[in-house]
């Protein structure tokens, strides 16, 4: 804990210290939130165990022309879901609640610059996602014998970082469209659940119709899942990275960030409407 008696404050030490200060408290708050604890830490692991145990036994599927076990397929898919649950669902709900409760307005009433508040929260989200992804990889390795090469792990790390930032931007943008915290959870489910099914998160896209696949390709979920699936079946970093998917994710990040910047409100929306 930061103590005023032990030297300069984070604000006095500069933007980086202030960013870490904000990220630390945002992480602490999310670790203590029962909803966040379940959905961002337990739910992905639980789904991995259920899917791999129920469906994964001795079955195979095809990813990018390579035959792999269903357990290996699920690791890639659930890694994508973890990014989405942490960055998109987590931020849509947290930001909407904090805004409507006046907490964002009160933070904004202090000298802390807006980029620090948003950057600190994004960093906290990234740390949370990295922690769950690591845990997921450990469970996959120990529980189901699914191992990855160093190159594949590096490609996964890059994809998770880009994906988390893209879905965080999307989360900020969607939070700007929601007026009531009660609406946040339904909106998250309504937007993501259909995409999980058609984007290869839970079900291999090879079993879907071309029309559904084309629809899925418009949205970022498919690109995040495809990049992670590709990494999960390749050995070297260059072969495991999917530049096309990463570019699409970056484009989504840019477009939604621009939208969020125009639409974002620090003040409660319901009260001022």
């Amino acid at each position: 804990m930061f103590n005023t008696l032990t030297g300069p404050t984070p604000a006095a030490r500069g933007p980086l210290a202030l960013l870490l200060h904000q990220a630390r408290y945002d992480t602490l708050a999310s670790l203590r939130n029962p909803r966040a604890r379940f959905f961002t830490f337990m739910f992905p692991i639980l789904l991995m165990v259920i899917f791999a145990s129920v469906f994964g036994h001795d079955k195979t599927t095809t990813v990018d022309g390579t035959t792999v076990s269903l357990a290996r397929f699920f690791v890639g898919g659930i890694m994508a879901m973890t990014v989405i649950v942490t960055a998109y669902a987590g931020l849509v709900i947290t930001v909407t609640q904090a805004r409507e409760a006046g907490a964002l307005k009160r933070r904004r009433a202090t000298p802390v610059p807006a980029p620090i508040l948003i950057g600190g929260q994004a960093l906290a989200t990234l740390l949370t996602a990295a922690f769950t992804e690591t845990l997921l990889l450990v469970v996959a390795r120990i529980g189901y014998g699914v191992a990855f090469s160093g190159g594949a792990l590096a490609a996964m790390a890059v994809t998770v970082i880009v994906g988390t930032l893209a879905f965080a931007c999307l989360g900020y943008a969607v939070a700007g469209l929601i007026g009531s915290p009660d609406a946040a959870q339904p909106v998250v489910q309504a937007t993501m659940l259909p995409l999980y099914f058609i984007s290869g998160v839970w079900i291999p896209t090879s079993s879907l119709s071309p029309t559904l696949r084309h629809i899925a390709e418009i949205f970022p979920v498919e690109h995040l899942a495809a990049a992670l699936h590709l990494a999960s079946v390749r050995g070297s970093l260059t072969a495991a990275l999917s530049p096309t998917d990463l570019v699409v994710l970056a484009a989504w990040a840019f477009a939604t960030a621009v939208f969020a910047a125009r639409r974002f409100s620090w003040l409660p929306v319901a009260a001022t409407a």
Partner: protein, 326 residues
């Protein structure tokens, strides 16, 4: 030379605060939301070290005005200076010098009281010590509790502590006790009174007359987007020079016509056989009345002299303005 009541008020304040430095200066402030004019030309001056109450009914334009002063909303027209800067264009560093207690704000979720203060202290380059701030707001005992588990009154004190932690010169309190029970309200008033003792300037909005009277050095009353009265709790609305009201029951066997001439032409009959007379010269009127009563062999047992309460003045000021919102 003093030519009108505004000059008189300015002269009076200058006499009371020889080195009065304006912390907030507002002139001709307007705010328009679509067709609705929420604020219709406001002039205000708040000087260093005073508690200034901005009093008015709900929907009168209080929160809109205070949000413009806090830099959360832009004025449609008019000039606003807070601590020497235009709040709408002030750099984020300007916020080092102000503290804000919002009308409604939930505590930071998941954090303890002490962690909330630590988080906010980190935002400022020279914050107040955390323990001292906890002590000042009476939160030391609950400092390790989750902020979300506090009672309503304790949460409000945490709001004040968070506004104080940056050691600001000027503190905005937007309806700090709305929805409180009487004991929580008194506890909050003690905290606000404490801000005066440590030399802070306080801009307080409220719709409780009693709160303004108890806390404020000066009061401005706003209704339908305009300031309709300004003054100290003692002088607001001409309260100090307004008519007092003398009421009594006529001694048995007498009528209004029997009263001395000076009184009989002014009295009105009230319910229950009492009579009432407005008076601007109380000692004279009482002397005439008591001389007459003694002649009648009466002690006027239920004689009452009453000056308008601040509540009376406020209600009279505000009534008739509330519906004036085309």
């Amino acid at each position: 030379m003093i030519t009108n009541s505004l000059d008189a008020a300015v002269a009076q304040r200058a006499a009371a605060h020889p080195q009065a430095e304006a912390v907030i200066e507002v002139s001709g402030l307007h705010k328009q939301y679509g067709d609705h004019e929420a604020v219709r030309g406001i002039d205000l001056e708040v000087v260093r070290g005073e508690i200034f109450a901005f009093l008015g009914p709900n929907g009168a334009g209080k929160t809109t005005t205070v949000e413009i002063l806090e830099g959360f909303r832009k004025a449609t027209s008019g000039s606003v200076r807070v601590l020497g800067a235009d709040p709408a264009r002030a750099p984020q560093r300007w916020r080092e010098r102000i503290g804000i207690v919002l009308q409604e704000s939930a505590p930071e979720p998941g954090l303890t009281v002490r962690e909330c203060l630590s988080l906010y202290a980190g935002y400022y380059s020279a914050p107040r010590p955390i323990d001292e701030t906890l002590d000042h707001t009476g939160l030391t005992e609950v400092s390790e509790q989750r902020a979300a588990s506090l009672s309503g009154g304790q949460r409000r004190r945490l709001d004040v502590a968070l506004a104080l932690i940056g050691d600001p010169e000027l503190i905005f309190l937007d309806e700090p006790t709305t929805g409180f029970d009487p004991s929580a309200r008194r506890a909050a008033w003690e905290v606000i009174d404490g801000l005066r003792r440590i030399g802070k300037t306080v801009f307080l909005t409220t719709h409780y007359m009693e709160e303004a009277e108890r806390l404020a050095d000066r009061i401005a009353v706003i209704a339908a987007g305009r300031i309709i009265a300004q003054g100290t709790p003692r002088t607001l609305g001409g309260r100090d020079t307004s008519e007092a009201r003398i009421t009594f029951t006529l001694p048995p066997g007498t009528t209004v016509a029997d009263l001395p001439y000076e009184l009989s032409e002014r009295v009105v009959l009230e319910d229950g056989g009492r009579v009432a007379a407005g008076s601007t010269a109380i000692a004279t009127d009482l002397s005439i009345l008591s001389g007459w009563a003694l002649q009648q062999g009466s002690q006027l047992d239920d004689l009452e002299v009453r000056r308008a309460t601040l509540e009376d003045v406020y209600l009279e000021l505000v009534s008739g303005r509330q519906h004036d919102r085309s």
